[in-house]
């Protein structure tokens, strides 16, 4: 192994000096196991293989399989044939066999509008012209390919089809001739450029053909739309009409490889028996690598020492394979098999063999996409182990890493790695969580705590080398961590039901499952559009992206809030699926958009409040409305199925589907508004929001008109007043006293007011807030009632209780104050609580974990415009200890510490652990004025008026403050401790220094003692509970807890308690022996 490595190292580390260093390191930190282990290892593979294949498949039995991945590939002409682009579908059969379906006779296409006068007679000329142009381009290119005549003739095919540009309504059913060009992806690409520069299509000289259609859409998406295959849907290959490929001819590692013509393929709708999910194999893995001191492991130098794997079948609860490949000897772990490898090379090779043998469909883990997988592939390169990169189902292709930028409104921009493991889906749990959940922290630890209410013991990178260098027991310990890290992602996926939800999303939108993780929102809508357009012969033009933000338009409006604390029921009227309903109701679509009005307003066309014109349904029903109607109807069906379904697993499927449908319906509006998208149409999105605004206003005036005092046979005690309205909901004060009354009128109002809107736009009444604290636009809180007697929950919008950029103290205090205000309706106690907390804060009684703010270190210091606290701190920590300092991408936790007056805030940030160990005083004032004051003032303003902030920040409760003496810096070195009386703090005379208290305090001795003891009791309980919690969390009673999970809610607490209790028990010791002297 060592020799191998040196060679690898040399290629990557050209300078001689560094190479030598790495050699030394290797000797130091990677022990050698040549004496303990042999190269020939026996591995129990009994559970690895997939079930055997039914020999009759494809011969007398149809093969049905669930589609997991789709790719297109180029097949060069062989002899008599011509170049092709075929599609390959990877899937799983019901019996759990892996399959690769090669779909032949499929050709990608694009369209362009036929030049005027182009007729059937021109097809031959046009095809020749294009083919020749492409052929000469190929010949000009590198390689100077020799092309046979057949190939040249068949580079592309053209035909005339009738269709229409998706954009604009030009009168009913005006299909015009288009030319459809089909061929290999490669040929099409060349054809595109040739056509742009003009080709002699009709024998009358070069023709300018203008816009191309659908040439910018992925071949896979086009293939799926054309065949009707949806991601994770079922297809069937009829027996006898396919070609079963023999084992030796297989290009894939699938159990079954079959080739079928696109014409014979049967595609099923995901309903009935085809709604099922095949026994998909999910592999979750985690690697451990050994780093040099102070450096994060780098694939060029630092070896992988362990890889833990868990394999589970979708729908089952427990993994059926649990193992860990370990470098070196390792004590066994009950319930998992440990595979001891003598060197890293063997470890990686055996692991890759393992992957190929168990043949997983989905590969998961935590941050495998950006760390584990690239690391393994990079190591394979360094060690020159080509087979290790062969993890996919394609025999001839290893996996490669590319950088892929992804940017979307939902998640912002980020750069991910893109790794192609042919035929398997990389389903990184971190990516799923990043996409679907907003959290304070995204470490595996914190995510499992949030969703599984479970923590894991987090091992610091620094101790991994020690554990590896130790003995088989310490390596076993490491394997335990590694196994746990492999298991947690599986448990998370189960808990979040991500796989099922993603499968359903793939089925609804039609894209392959991996698109959902690697691509943005748009591709989903595009795929749906494409399917619908195909049926109606609409073609999607290629729109040059305008790049920048483009024009912006007015967003959803709000009715200005009438701020205040409403101690009465406030009814909420909501528009159900507002934007989709607007688009359906007003027939807003690309295909109905008018350049100028034509005909009779409101009969032939409508004018939207934003001034755009759209054709009415009478003229043509839009495509988007049809898509949306389908989505909403499908969602209704799924909800219905969900209600009637008994089986838990199928219930999950239906719930996943209805969620997917909802999200998809709602994202159509965004799709039309995305200026950098494939099909932007601001006319639509502008019109949608303008309708939305208008409807909110209409609702307001209608409600206030109908529900005047005495309306509904006197049931309305006062004039209704709309106090706030936002996007799709309107808050109404009916002036009633009980929730039940508000519900009755609210229900009535929902039906009545709905009458003024075009269906399916409908107002729904579902909740009453009582009481309701309206702070500002998009900021409110209230008790949420859906039934008259008891509230469902406390609902807070836009308040710091849910925001992540504050310290947890803010959220907690705010939460409790709101509960006191809203649930107890006790303003005084809420205010008292706020004051008490501020008092506690200033007296240093607040636990440090509540004061920690954390920010992600996204780029190094000099790249930030202004100095930022967490960046400065990271730099300072690096100076102190490069090993434990935060790295790029880490979240940096910090607290603000007291400093001289004019020290800028960014220099006052400090590492909480450092603060604890050195007893550095916290800048409590900063927390009060910069964190607590504003949010608290906001919620108390409606009650206390403008004085709120003043009362909170300057009241009586802020007078007492505690000052902590730091152990470092300043005067710490010069202070000298002398014994003081524990009662009155007076300095004890030297003769009495042994005593706990002074003579004067003697009568109060029991009192002083019991006070001190009270304090100790609290600390003792804390100590005992916190440390047993850790012991339990680490799931071992007999081993030391080595945990560095900084985002664990008790991490700082349990360290702080050690100092506190030590101090406190020393004080108690001063009172002497407890028993009487006898």
């Amino acid at each position: 192994m060592a020799s191998n490595k040196r060679i690898g190292g040399a290629t990557f580390q050209p300078t001689v000096k560094r190479k030598r260093e790495s050699d030394e390191f290797e000797k130091q930190y990677v022990p050698n196991f040549e004496n303990d282990l042999s190269e020939n290892i026996k591995i129990d593979k009994s559970k690895w293989a997939r079930p055997a294949v039914d020999k009759q498949l494809g011969i007398s039995k149809n093969i049905a399989c669930q589609v997991l991945e789709v790719e297109t590939y180029y097949e060069a002409a062989n002899g008599s044939g011509y170049d092709r682009t075929n599609a390959k579908i990877y899937g799983v059969t019901r019996a759990g066999n892996s399959i690769c379906v090669i779909v032949t006779d499929y050709f990608p296409h694009f369209y362009f509008q036929a030049p005027s006068g182009f007729g059937v007679e021109h097809i031959g000329q046009a095809q020749n012209a294009i083919c020749n142009a492409i052929a000469s381009q190929i010949k000009r290119g590198p390689g100077n390919a020799q092309l046979s005549g057949t190939v040249v003739d068949n580079l592309v095919h053209i035909e005339i089809v009738h269709g229409e540009n998706l954009y604009y309504f030009r009168g009913a059913d005006t299909k015009v001739p288009f030319i459809k060009v089909t061929g290999t992806t490669n040929a099409l690409h060349k054809a595109r450029t040739e056509l742009k520069s003009g080709i002699n299509l009709m024998g009358k000289g070069p023709v300018n053909i203008g816009n191309l259609y659908e040439s910018n859409i992925d071949a896979e998406v086009k293939f799926m739309a054309k065949t009707g295959i949806v991601g994770c849907g079922w297809i069937e290959i009829p027996a006898g009409k396919c070609d079963m490929i023999k084992e030796k001819d297989k290009a894939s590692r699938c159990q079954i490889e079959v080739s079928v013509s696109v014409r014979d393929l049967i595609v099923h709708e995901s309903d009935g028996e085809w709604a099922d999910i095949a026994p998909i194999r999910t592999l979750s893995f985690d690697i451990e690598c050994i780093g040099r001191r102070g450096v994060f492991p780098e694939a060029t130098m630092d070896p992988i020492i362990q890889i833990a794997n868990m394999i589970k079948i979708e729908g089952e609860t427990e993994p059926f394979v649990r193992n860990c490949f370990v470098l070196g000897t390792c004590a066994p772990v009950v319930g998992s098999s440990i595979i001891e490898c003598v060197n890293e090379k063997l470890l990686l090779e055996k692991w890759a063999e393992f992957i190929r043998e168990v043949d997983p469909d989905i590969i998961t883990g935590y941050n495998i996409l950006n760390f584990d997988l690239p690391y393994i592939l990079d190591r394979a390169k360094v060690l020159k182990l080509p087979m290790v990169s062969h993890l996919g189902r394609q025999k001839d292709k290893g996996s490669v890493i590319r950088d892929a930028a992804i940017s979307s409104k939902q998640m912002g921009s980020r750069v991910n790695k893109n790794i192609d493991i042919h035929g398997r889906i990389i389903f990184d749990v971190l990516q799923v969580v990043l996409r679907d959940y907003k959290l304070r922290s995204y470490t595996l630890n914190s995510v499992s705590y949030q969703f599984l209410s479970e923590q894991k013991e987090d091992v610091e990178h620094n101790i991994i080398p020690d554990l590896q260098r130790g003995n088989e027991q310490t390596r076993r310990r490491l394997a335990m961590y590694c196994l746990k890290d492999a298991l947690l992602p599986l448990r998370l996926l189960d808990k979040l039901m991500s796989i099922i939800n993603y499968i359903e999303m793939a089925r609804v939108t039609g894209v392959p499952m991996n698109y959902l993780l690697t691509r943005g929102q748009q591709i989903k809508i595009l795929s749906m559009m494409l399917r619908r357009c195909k049926a109606n012969n609409f073609f999607l033009p290629v729109i040059e992206s305008s790049g920048g933000d483009g024009e912006s338009y007015e967003g959803a409006t709000v009715i200005d809030p009438i701020r205040g604390f409403y101690n009465e029921p406030i009814a909420t009227l909501d528009f159900a699926s507002l934007y989709p309903s607007i688009m359906i109701a007003h027939n807003l679509c690309y295909t109905t958009l008018l350049k100028s009005p034509n005909g009779v307003e409101n009969e032939d066309y409508i004018r939207t409040p934003s001034g755009q014109y759209f054709a009415t349904q009478n003229r043509r029903k839009g495509l988007l409305p049809i898509i949306l109607e389908d989505l909403l109807a499908a969602r209704k069906r799924a909800k219905n199925d969900l209600k009637n379904e008994k089986d838990e697993f199928r219930k999950m499927v239906f719930n996943g589907r209805q969620l997917a449908l909802k999200i998809s319906a709602n994202s159509v509006y965004g799709f039309t508004g995305a200026t950098v998208g494939k099909l932007p149409c601001l006319e639509i999105s502008q019109s949608v929001t303008s309708f939305g605004r208008k409807m909110i206003d209409m609702t307001k005036s209608e409600v206030e008109r109908i529900y005047k005092k005495g309306a509904m046979n006197g049931k309305c005690p006062a004039d209704a007043k709309v106090i706030y309205g936002d996007t799709d909901s309107v808050m109404v004060k009916f002036g009633v006293e009980t929730v039940a009354q508000a519900m009755e009128i609210g229900l009535h109002a929902a039906t009545e007011v709905s009458k003024i809107f075009t269906p399916p736009i409908k107002l729904e009444f579902e909740k009453v807030y009582f009481p309701y604290l309206l702070i500002n636009k998009k900021r409110y809180a209230g008790l949420y009632f859906t039934k008259p007697d008891i509230h469902d929950k406390m609902d807070c919008k836009g308040l710091e209780t849910v925001r992540r950029d504050n310290c947890p103290l803010v959220a907690k205090v705010l939460g409790i104050c709101l509960e006191k205000l809203l649930i107890d309706r006790d303003e005084q106690s809420a205010l008292d609580f706020a004051k008490k907390t501020i008092g506690d804060l200033l007296c240093n009684k607040i636990d440090i974990s509540l004061l920690i703010i954390s920010k992600e270190l996204t780029k190094s210091g000099d790249k930030y415009q202004a100095k930022q606290a967490h960046v400065e701190l990271a730099a300072r920590m690096k100076k102190r200890d490069p090993g434990s300092a935060p790295r790029l991408g880490d979240r940096v936790p910090y607290v603000f510490v007291a400093a001289a007056k004019n020290v800028p805030a960014y220099e006052r940030a400090e590492d909480p652990a450092f603060v604890l160990s050195n007893n550095i005083p916290i800048d409590t004032k900063h927390y009060l004025t910069n964190q607590l004051a504003k949010p608290l003032a906001r919620i108390f303003e409606p009650i206390l008026g403008d004085r709120a902030e003043k009362i909170l920040v300057e009241g009586e409760h802020t007078r007492v403050r505690t000052v902590v003496q730091s152990k470092v810096g300043g005067l710490a070195a010069f202070t000298k401790k002398s014994a003081t009386c524990l009662g009155c703090k007076s300095v004890l005379p030297k003769s009495d220094a042994e005593n706990a208290i002074c003579q004067h305090c003697q009568p109060k001795l029991p009192e002083i003692f019991s006070q001190r003891l009270n304090n100790l009791h609290e600390l003792e309980t804390k100590f005992a509970r916190l440390w047993t919690e850790c012991q339990n969390c680490a799931k071992t009673m007999q081993e030391k807890v080595n945990c560095s999970a900084r985002d664990c809610p008790i991490y700082y607490m349990r360290d702080k308690i050690r100092n506190d209790i030590e101090e406190s028990s020393q004080v108690i010791e001063r009172f002497g022996d407890p028993t009487f002297f006898n």
Binding site: R322, Q1031, I1061
Partner: protein, 448 residues
């Protein structure tokens, strides 16, 4: 004054419960695994000894859990963990705190022991040589508690990570036969538990007057010769300081309420205890909530809290909890009951005496310490192991009075387990006659 000529036969045997300098040094930088380690180490030999008795010498092989196979029955020695889903945890509580943070905990009915709700996921685990397995087979949740050390005879189950138990081997019970030559004399020892004075005169009135009534009764019934009273803690109401998960969480969720232990309660305790010392010796053992450390084993209540009792004769003993002593050669072990309460929470089937009987079986006073009962972070010893089984095991603050004779071995040795209720609730005092070892109790109701 009653003659004290026999008091020489009293021996305080609680040395092991006192913390040594070594124990205290750097204690709070330790973790609890050291204590578990010490426990297992000291019980291992006794488990092996018992295994030889039960399974027969040479009939078994004692191996590490890593070497257990699915084919051969072997003995493994380690620690049992009772995994109960409803067991409170700080992390879980913190997660759900949003809903409960500000709730008023004081409304909770104090006094009634809350047992954990049973859950289908509850199960047993076993840790040995850093391995953990799930237990199945011939072992029940009702047989054990977290922290019990035992030997398990069996093999690996078919399922991964499961151990099929055939037989559980507990540590060999250590008995010290009673010296029958010791002369029997007519003498009575009284036990009271849970005075729980709050310092609020109105609240305490019933307890105090009933206790004073007991004092007067003692004078009248002088011929009974009650020569010693053991007061089991907590003598001070411990509702003041919570010692559960919620109270820890409350300090984190800002919903903590500042409360002070009442000095008045201390003064009152001092007074009623010193008033008895004319008639008998009093041992004051601590309980959780009393003015002393609340980590088990608890040190005595500090003398500075009871100045008056210290001034009287030398008849007030401030002792530890648990408290072990012998009188006329008879060994007594008392606890204030937190150990038993903690066990009872984990099993609906047990009564107090069942739990005590189990403790004898496990040879451990409080296996759940430190897991759910706050314990001192010991390093190399576990003081709560029963090194010599007492003749009487008395446990305070239970729901009622119960007595059970437990046979210790095939010989005639027995241990009598007695539970006594809180005096603050039941006004009950237990009497134990040393002459014939009979037990009786009496209620001193005087609420007027």
């Amino acid at each position: 004054m009653v003659g004290k000529e026999n008091s020489g036969s009293y021996r305080n045997l609680s040395e092991q419960f006192l913390l040594t300098q070594k124990d205290k040094k750097g204690a709070f930088n330790r973790q609890y695994f050291e204590l578990y380690d010490a426990r297992l180490k000291s019980l291992k030999g006794r488990i092996l000894e018992n295994a030889e008795n039960v399974l027969g010498k040479g009939n078994f092989e004692c191996v590490s859990l890593t070497d257990v196979t699915k084919t051969k029955d072997v003995l493994v020695i380690g620690m049992i963990l009772k995994k109960i889903a409803a067991k409170p945890s700080i992390l879980k509580t913190l997660l759900s705190e949003d809903k409960v943070a500000y709730e008023d905990y004081e409304d909770e009915e104090a006094g009634d022991l809350k047992r954990y709700t049973e859950n289908a996921e509850d199960h047993l685990e076993f840790e040995c040589d850093n391995q953990t397995v799930k237990l199945e087979g011939n072992i029940s949740m009702n047989d054990c508690a977290t922290g019990c050390c035992a030997g398990l005879f069996g093999k690996l189950g078919d399922e991964d990570g499961v151990f099929e138990v055939i037989r559980v081997i507990w540590p060999k019970i250590r008995v010290e036969p009673i010296d029958l030559k010791m002369k029997m004399r007519k003498s009575v020892i009284a036990f009271v538990s849970g005075l729980e004075l709050s310092g609020d005169l109105e609240e305490d009135n019933g307890t105090i007057s009933s206790f004073e009534y007991f004092g007067e009764w003692l004078k009248e019934e002088e011929e009974m010769n009650v020569e010693r009273l053991v007061v089991l803690g907590p003598s001070i109401d411990n509702n003041v300081v919570g010692c559960d998960v919620e109270s820890v969480v409350r300090t984190l969720t800002l919903s903590r309420q500042d409360k002070q232990m009442s000095t008045k309660a201390l003064t009152m305790l001092d007074k009623i205890i010193s008033s008895l010392t004319d008639q008998l010796d009093v041992d004051v053992s601590a309980g959780v909530g009393d003015p002393c450390s609340s980590l088990w084993p608890q040190p005595p209540i500090h003398r500075v809290c009871l100045p008056r009792s210290g001034m009287t004769k030398k008849q007030v003993n401030l002792v530890t909890n648990p408290y072990e002593f012998s009188l006329d050669g008879i060994r007594f072990l008392t606890t204030s009951g937190e150990n038993i309460d903690d066990l009872l929470k984990t099993c609906w089937k047990w009564k107090s005496v069942d739990a005590m009987e189990n403790c004898l079986k496990w040879q451990h006073i409080a296996p759940t310490c430190p897991d759910t009962l706050d314990g001192f972070p010991m390093a190399d010893r576990d003081p709560l192991i029963i090194s010599t089984t007492p003749r009487f095991m008395i446990c305070g603050n239970q729901s009622n009075c119960e007595v059970r004779n437990v046979a210790l071995d095939d010989r005639e040795n027995i241990c009598t387990c007695i539970s006594i209720p809180k005096f603050s609730k039941s006004r009950t005092i237990l009497f134990l006659n040393l002459e014939d070892l009979t037990v009786s109790w009496r209620v001193f109701q005087n609420d007027f």
